[in-house]
């Protein structure tokens, strides 16, 4: 594998490919803004993201980012440490690329009647670029820029259905909360900068001791930065945008935001807190273990998400809340970090985000399919769909049970590894909360399965078409969700190695 022959900057290739695709789509857009050549546009996006995926996987296999001692090619640092390409970066690029590909394919049908197709796809690709960049960002500057690069197109994408009140309302709320959050985040960055004098993560870590007198300031800064991550990952209390944004946005975008965007939010949180604020050193300065904040956030987030999801009538909104709940699960990955490790729990969170990428995207894409059919949005509207669309409903069953963490599906391992990690880290309270929430989540996931598989169909709804793109994306996501279980060995290895490298 000829990685070394390539210049170092090519380590960012996945992100670069994504941005190139976006630019290519801009070219299409500028040539013919009203083009309805959906195959070309969706195809370009899909190919672009798949190429990014392929490159990322190739890099991973080739050992980019694996420390040399483990026989890899070493972590690649770029631009004076502003970017870093290690296994975690590649891992999350994979997540982002997979989700983007699925979303692009699904949008082929979903955005059928939309006027400005090219613009839509290029926004998706730009957001994906932002997320991929987030995975590699290693300085608060690049992190902030990447964050905004992911966020700004997302605002637009959520409200892209300009004549749909829901979409606009969703976009507005998303934007307003997002703007507020990024203001808080930047303020936090400024405080951290004030305390340490640096924005590059490694440098911050090195200068923590010097911040001794500004312990409170640094603590506040860290907390405000947590706010920024919480917004991106839809964690309490910065989650308020999520239910509305996911519900109002076009379903593929909901999938995109709830899977890829969330994962990207987590990767920066992982990186910042492992690289810039190593627990021991930070605790010495700010007087408290910041993982406590994540313990609280994890418990509150998963509880709120699951409880609010339990009695929803609207499927998409249920999935939105469930997405908040899963953010809570993944937060265990940060809550479980401790001075003497946390590799297992963080690795588990990474695995969970990967599998979540398949299953949650799949679930939202099913909603997209239902919206495409126009069967309605509530559970009742979904009643008995299985008799008319068994394949898609079978896939939905897979997504739901996988989200609930029932074997033999991919969601099982990641959820239970989180559970294992929580116990290993000694967070029995979190583990208990996980049990309670898991039970509740079982209830509402099963409720959706019940609707499509068990309930009798409501009034005659006519024949349902089988849109190729949506079906392909859903089936592909389902296959990934199922296959994830037997091939979990490599997934776990990759995630745990990545976590090990970051934690150091």
């Amino acid at each position: 594998m000829a990685v070394f022959e390539l210049p170092e900057w090519t380590a960012l290739a996945p992100a670069l490919i994504l941005v190139a695709t976006a630019l290519l789509l801009f070219v299409f857009d500028s040539i013919n803004p009203r083009t309805s050549n959906r195959s070309l546009l969706a195809g370009t996006s899909a190919i672009g993201s798949l190429t990014a995926l392929g490159v990322a996987v190739w890099f991973m296999l080739a050992g980019v980012g694996t420390p040399s001692v483990d026989g890899g090619r070493g972590v690649v640092e770029l631009f004076g440490g502003q970017f870093i390409v290690d296994q975690m970066a590649l891992f999350f690029m994979v997540v982002v690329a997979v989700v983007t590909a699925l979303v692009a394919v699904a949008s082929y049908d979903y955005m059928e009647d939309h006027a400005y197709q090219a613009e839509y796809y290029s926004l998706v690709m730009l957001a994906a670029t932002g997320m991929a960049t987030m995975a590699a960002a290693n300085s608060l500057v690049t992190i902030f820029i990447a964050l905004e690069l992911a966020s700004l197109p997302s605002y637009a994408l959520v409200s892209i259905l300009k004549n749909n009140r829901g979409s606009v309302e969703a976009g507005l709320k998303y934007f307003l909360i997002g703007a507020l959050s990024s203001a808080i985040f930047v303020y936090g960055v400024s405080l951290v900068y004030g305390a340490t004098g640096h924005l590059q993560l490694d440098a911050i870590a090195e200068n923590l001791e010097g911040a001794g007198e500004y312990g409170g300031l640094l603590g506040l800064g860290i907390l405000m930065m947590i706010g920024g991550f919480a917004f991106k990952t839809a964690s309490v209390p910065f989650h308020f945008w999520a239910p509305e944004a996911y519900e109002g946005a076009p379903a593929p975008i909901s999938a995109f935001l709830s899977s890829a965007s969330k994962a990207a939010g987590f990767v920066i949180a992982f990186r910042v807190f492992t690289t810039a604020f190593p627990i021991e050193a930070t605790t010495a300065v700010i007087g408290i273990d910041w993982s406590l904040a994540f313990v609280i956030l994890a418990i509150v987030t998963m509880t709120l998400g699951n409880f609010a999801a339990a009695t929803q009538d609207n499927v998409k909104r249920m999935l939105a809340y469930s997405s908040i709940g899963h953010a809570g699960y993944a937060l265990i990955g940060l809550a479980g970090l401790s001075a003497d490790g946390g590799q297992l729990v963080m690795g588990a969170a990474m695995m969970h985000l990967l599998v979540y990428g398949f299953m949650n995207t799949g679930a939202f894409l099913f909603v997209a399919l239902a919206e495409y059919w126009g069967v309605g949005r509530t559970f009742e509207d979904y009643n008995g769909l299985a008799t008319q669309a068994p394949v898609a409903c079978f896939a939905l069953g897979i997504f739901m049970f996988s989200l609930a963490g029932i074997p033999p599906l991919g969601g099982f391992f990641s959820k239970y590894f989180l559970f294992v990690g929580a116990i290993e880290a000694g967070m029995l309270v979190v583990a208990a909360a996980l049990v309670v929430n898991s039970a509740l989540s079982l209830y509402y996931y099963a409720r959706l399965v019940k609707a499509v598989w068990i309930e009798d169909p409501v009034a005659d709804r006519g024949t349902l078409s089988q849109p190729t793109g949506l079906y392909a994306a859903i089936v592909f996501a389902a296959v990934l969700t199922v296959v994830a279980l037997p091939v979990f060995g490599p997934i776990a290895d990759a995630a745990l190695d990545a976590a090990a490298v970051v934690i150091g």
């Binding site: 033999p408 099982f412 294992v420 116990i423 898991s438 776990a492």
Partner: protein, 509 residues
């Protein structure tokens, strides 16, 4: 690779059946299910294992392969059979085949999905009884939930949605509790274990036990884990007061699902208790002998009393399962060869008999479309063969000698009566034994009112003789029940061979 073949046949069969046309699904599934049944019977005849799978026994059909490296721990695909698991595997395969045949009449909607799910359950159940790595085992253990949820939910009775979700959530919560407890134990064992393989954990447990975890001392930790796992399994078994999901699930489930639920799924709980609590925690078993025995007695008597109050045939059989599982717990806590061996035998026996009972009730339901005791009488007049088998099954349930139930109960009682491990065993045992009187009471009451007396039916259906394919599975079951009642050593020998090593560590041998 025979075990993998068993599971694979069932899994592939499930998929094939799933996409087969409804018309042929039943026959196809039956044909497919014959393969694992035959295979497992063949394995039964050539079985050459000895000892206990967790305690350095010679495993039959062992196979092991690394799967996932989770930090310091390895998760392996690890399966194998010993004298405890083999009878249960055979029970599973045979009962599935028969359950499939008994579904031909009642299931007339979405057949291919139904039979596909049955085969899927079979695959998972085989996995539960053969897996020897905790994670592998847990995967199968939990994967049973999905098909059972759907079987109850889609093809069940009027309150099927409530019953299905109750079953699903309740048992899952219990599993989570148990999972957490076991993982805590593994961490508590520290460096002594490097994998989740049950034999390794078991030997570490018996070799000094946990060193402690999270500031909790080793023996306290072991006790906490023991109790938590016991509670987790108690729901699955189910043991009073965690039993309320069972009657709902049974009553609402379609007959073949009830057959598997009572026949095999409940045994998952007792099997797990035997494999985990009673194999790995001899000291705790001793320490908690009295409360557990008390729970067992309460389960027997309370379950039987509840059955007495029911008027729905299926509910009667469902509650009687609670009662019967109480016997199993009593046998386990006795911690003697006859107690534990009898409990294991009783798992198989109860599987056969309750399966038979549910089938028989199902046949009556197929004809009458009611299960209420008050709605019918004199069924023997119209369906003599089916009723004959029902009566035979009922007497089997009451523990009639020369049927397998008697052997199971007798050995449990005998094993428990003289158990030195269990204080007051000579009081607990007679108390629990009173169940055999109550069981006779409610079953005879039910029989008297439904199958005997002048013919009468509240519902508007013409009742005729049951078709052969409804009766044939019951005949087969009855045959096995009598065979095991007359020649229990067929499986009891291999069971005791596998049970002995457990008792060497703490029980009485």
């Amino acid at each position: 690779m025979m075990i993998e073949a068993l599971i694979a046949v069932a899994l592939v069969g499930a998929l094939v059946t799933f996409i087969a046309p409804n018309r042929i699904a039943g026959k196809l599934a039956f044909a497919i299910s014959l393969i694992p049944a035959a295979l497992s019977l063949w394995m039964f005849t050539v079985f050459d294992g000895s000892g206990n799978a967790l305690l350095d026994g010679e495993l039959a059909f062992e196979s092991q392969m690394e799967w996932i490296q989770l930090g310091d721990y390895t998760i392996s695909w690890f399966v194998g059979l010993d004298g405890i698991s083999l009878p249960l595997v055979v029970l599973t395969t045979v009962l599935t085949t028969l359950a499939i045949m008994s579904s031909w009449t009642p299931i007339d909607d979405r057949e291919s999905q139904f039979y596909g799910l049955l085969l899927f359950i079979e695959a998972n159940l085989i996995g539960v009884f053969t897996a020897l790595d905790f994670f592998v085992w847990f995967i199968f253990w939990e994967a049973v939930l999905i098909p059972m949820y759907l079987l109850i939910g889609v093809w069940g009775g009027p309150r099927r949605k409530y019953a299905a979700i109750k079953f699903f959530v309740y048992t899952n919560v219990a599993s989570l509790l148990m999972f957490g407890a076991f993982i805590t134990l593994v961490f508590g064992l520290g460096d002594a274990v490097t994998s989740f393989a049950l034999p390794e954990v078991a030997s570490a447990m018996l070799d000094g036990g946990p060193e402690g975890f999270l500031g909790v001392g080793g023996s306290t930790l072991a006790s906490i884990v023991f109790v938590a796992m016991f509670l987790g399994f108690a729901v699955k078994v189910p043991i009073v007061p965690f039993h309320t999901w069972l009657p709902d699930a049974h009553v609402e489930a379609p007959t073949p699902a009830s057959v598997l639920l009572a026949g095999v799924l409940l045994k998952m709980g007792t099997y797990a208790l035997l494999r985990f609590n009673f194999t790995m925690f001899p000291e705790q078993v001793e320490a908690y002998a009295i409360p557990i025995a008390a729970i067992a007695v309460i389960s027997v008597i309370y379950g039987a009393m509840l059955a007495l109050a029911q008027t729905d045939l299926k509910r009667i059989v469902a509650y009687s399962s609670v009662s019967s599982m109480g016997y199993v717990i009593l046998g386990l806590i006795a911690y003697t060869q006859f107690g534990v061996g009898g409990a294991t035998f009783q798992m198989v026996s109860h599987g056969l008999i309750s399966g038979l009972m549910f089938m028989a009730v199902g046949v009556i339901y197929n004809a009458t479309h009611t299960r209420m005791v008050t709605d019918m009488s004199g069924m023997a007049d119209r369906m003599p063969v089916a009723v004959g088998i029902l009566v035979a099954g009922a007497f089997g349930y009451m523990g009639l000698p020369l049927m397998s139930g008697f052997f199971g109960e007798f050995t449990i009682f005998f094993g428990a009566f003289g158990a030195e491990q269990l204080p007051y065993s000579e009081l607990f045992t007679p108390l629990a034994m009173f169940g055999i009187v109550i069981v006779a009471g409610y079953l005879l009451f039910a029989l008297q009112r439904t199958v005997f007396g002048p013919y009468h039916l509240e519902t508007d259906y013409e009742v005729g003789r049951a078709p052969l394919h409804d009766v044939a599975p019951m005949f087969v079951l009855l045959g096995i029940i009598i065979l095991l009642g007359v020649a229990p050593e067929l499986i009891f020998e291999m069971i005791t061979d596998a049970v002995d090593p457990i008792l060497e560590n703490g029980g009485e041998l």
